[in-house]
C-alpha cells in the first residue's frame, strides 16, 4: 500500500471532528463566518439535485438550471438588484478581479483607496500602474478622492480590517468615471450603497460556503471580459457553476438579511464593549471609526507587544482572532491598511464576531485581554 493508503486517509478525516471542537471563542468572522444553518440544510439538499450541467436540456440539467436561477433570484432580491446583474464566481477575489478590470478602459490607470483589500491592489497593479487615494487616521476615504483620478476608481464599502464605512454614494455622486466597489466585508450585513458600476461580494464572509463569489454589474455599465470568456448561460460567468454552493450562499444571504435588524445592534453593542475594554488598557489604541463602522468588527493595537505572540496567547485561552501585524502576515510586511492610516502596526488584533457570539464569550475575552497584554509586556521588560 502506498504512503497515501487507506489508513492515513481515515486518520486525516478523523481530524475534522477534532477541529470542529474549536467553536466557542472563534472571533474571526471577517476571515470566514461559520456556515449559517440555513446554508447547511440547503447545501445537503442541493447536492442531491444540483449536480448536472445547467446548460443541458435533460431533466437533471433542467433541475440544476432551476436551482441556479433560484440562487440568482434570491441574491438579486436580497441585494435589491436585477437578476441579470448577478454572476456567481469561484471566489470573492475572482469577483473583485473581474469586476474591477472589466470596468477599466484599456490603457487607463486604476485609482484605488490606500486601504483596499489585497485582491483590489493585485488586480490594479496587474493592469499596470495604479494610484492610491489617501485615507484619514480612521481609515476613511475623502469623498473628493484627495484630488486623485484614474480611468476607473475602486473603493470598498467598508474596511475589512478596521470596519470603517466608506462614503461610496458621495464619491459616486462626484465621479465621472466607472466606480468599482469591493463589498466583501459588508455584503449581507448592511444594505449595499448606490452608485457603483460593478461590485463584488464573497459568500463565506456572510455564512455561505467558501468558493462562491458574487459579481454585480449594473445594467448598461461598460463592462468587458478582462480575461478569456466562456460559454455558460451567464455571459460573465466562467467555468462550471458550483450550483449547490451558490444556492446555499443564497439561502445564507437571505437568512442574514432577514436577521440583521436583530443581529447588528447586538453585535454592535458587544463591539462597543470590546472597544471600551481595550481602550482602558494602557498604551492600547483602538482604531477605525467608532460609530460609522461594520457592526461586528473591531481592531486595536497594543504598544510593545508582538502580534504573533498576542494571537497565540489568546488562542491558547480559546479565543480565535486575526492580526494585521507583520510577524503574523505571510508577506512579513505590516498591514497596508494600518500603515495608510498611520496607526501602530505591531501588537495588532482584529476581533470579528460571528452571528452567535455570546455576551459571555465577549465577557471572557475582555477579562483575559489585559492580563495577556501585561504578561507579554513583562516578558520584554516593559
Amino acid at each position: 500500500m502506498s504512503r497515501w493508503g487507506a489508513g492515513r486517509q481515515c486518520n486525516r478525516l478523523g481530524s475534522v471532528r477534532k477541529a470542529a471542537a474549536y467553536r466557542s471563542g472563534y472571533m474571526d468572522s471577517a476571515s470566514s463566518e461559520p456556515l449559517h444553518p440555513a446554508a447547511r440544510e440547503t447545501l445537503m439538499a442541493a447536492y442531491e439535485r444540483g449536480y448536472a450541467d445547467p446548460r443541458r436540456l435533460h431533466g437533471p440539467g433542467r433541475d440544476a438550471r432551476l436551482l441556479l436561477d433560484n440562487a440568482r433570484a434570491v441574491v438579486a432580491e436580497c441585494l435589491e438588484v436585477r437578476p441579470d446583474e448577478v454572476t456567481f464566481t469561484p471566489s470573492g477575489t475572482d469577483a473583485v478581479h473581474r469586476g474591477l478590470l472589466g470596468l477599466r478602459p484599456s490603457g487607463t490607470t486604476v485609482a484605488h483607496s490606500a486601504v483596499e483589500h489585497s485582491a483590489v491592489v493585485h488586480a490594479a497593479t496587474w493592469a499596470g500602474e495604479a494610484v492610491e487615494i489617501p485615507v484619514s487616521r480612521i481609515g476613511r476615504v475623502d469623498p473628493g478622492l484627495g484630488g486623485v483620478s484614474g480611468g476607473v476608481v475602486a473603493v470598498q464599502s467598508a474596511n475589512h480590517e478596521v470596519g470603517t464605512l466608506q462614503p461610496v454614494e458621495e464619491i459616486a455622486a462626484r465621479l465621472d468615471v466607472p466606480l468599482f466597489v469591493d463589498a466583501c466585508a459588508s455584503m449581507g450585513r448592511l444594505p449595499l450603497p448606490r452608485g457603483w458600476d460593478a461590485l463584488a461580494g464573497s459568500a463565506h464572509k456572510w455564512g455561505g460556503p467558501a468558493g462562491v463569489g458574487v459579481l454585480l454589474v449594473r445594467k448598461g455599465a461598460r463592462w468587458r471580459h478582462p480575461f478569456p470568456g466562456d460559454d455558460r448561460g451567464d455571459e460573465r460567468a466562467v467555468g462550471f457553476e458550483n450550483v449547490p454552493a451558490a444556492l446555499a450562499a443564497a439561502a445564507a444571504l437571505r437568512a442574514v438579511v432577514t436577521e440583521r435588524d436583530e443581529v447588528n445592534p447586538r453585535q454592535s453593542a458587544l463591539v462597543d464593549r470590546i472597544r471600551a475594554a481595550a481602550a482602558e488598557i494602557p498604551d492600547v489604541e483602538v482604531v477605525g471609526d467608532p460609530v460609522e463602522r461594520l457592526p461586528h468588527l473591531v481592531t486595536f493595537s497594543c504598544l510593545y507587544v508582538d502580534g504573533e505572540a498576542l494571537v497565540t496567547e489568546l488562542d491558547r485561552r480559546g479565543y480565535g482572532v486575526a492580526s494585521g501585524s507583520a510577524c503574523t502576515a505571510s508577506t512579513l510586511t505590516p498591514s497596508r491598511v494600518l500603515e495608510a492610516m498611520g496607526v501602530l502596526t505591531h501588537g495588532n488584533v482584529r476581533v470579528s464576531l460571528t452571528r452567535d457570539t455570546t455576551a459571555e464569550e465577549v465577557g471572557g475575552f475582555v477579562a483575559v485581554l489585559p492580563e495577556v497584554v501585561r504578561d507579554l509586556r513583562a516578558q520584554v521588560g516593559l
Partner: protein, 74 residues
C-alpha cells in the same frame, strides 16, 4: 541636528525597535533628541505612532535615514 542618543536597531524586527525606544528614550532630558536606526519596514509607521501615543514629538527621518524623536514629556 546632533542626537543626544542614537539607538542602533538595525536587524531587529517589529516591535523590537519600538521596545528599545520605549525603554531608553528617558535617558535623554526633556527637550533632548533620540535617533533610531532601523531597517524593519514597520518602524516608519510605528515610531511615529509611538510618539503620538506617548506624547512625544516625531520629527521625521534625517538624511542618514534615522527616525528622529524629541522627548517633550516624561
Amino acid at each position: 541636528m546632533t542626537p543626544d542618543l542614537e539607538l542602533d536597531c538595525r536587524g531587529m524586527l517589529c516591535p523590537l525597535p519600538v521596545i528599545e525606544l520605549g525603554k531608553r528614550y528617558a535617558e535623554v532630558p526633556v527637550g533632548g533628541l533620540v535617533a533610531v536606526l532601523a531597517d524593519d519596514v514597520a518602524a516608519r509607521t510605528d515610531i511615529a505612532a509611538w510618539c503620538r501615543m506617548r506624547g512625544q514629538e516625531y520629527l521625521g527621518e534625517d538624511p542618514e535615514e534615522r527616525y528622529l524623536v524629541r522627548r517633550v514629556s516624561p
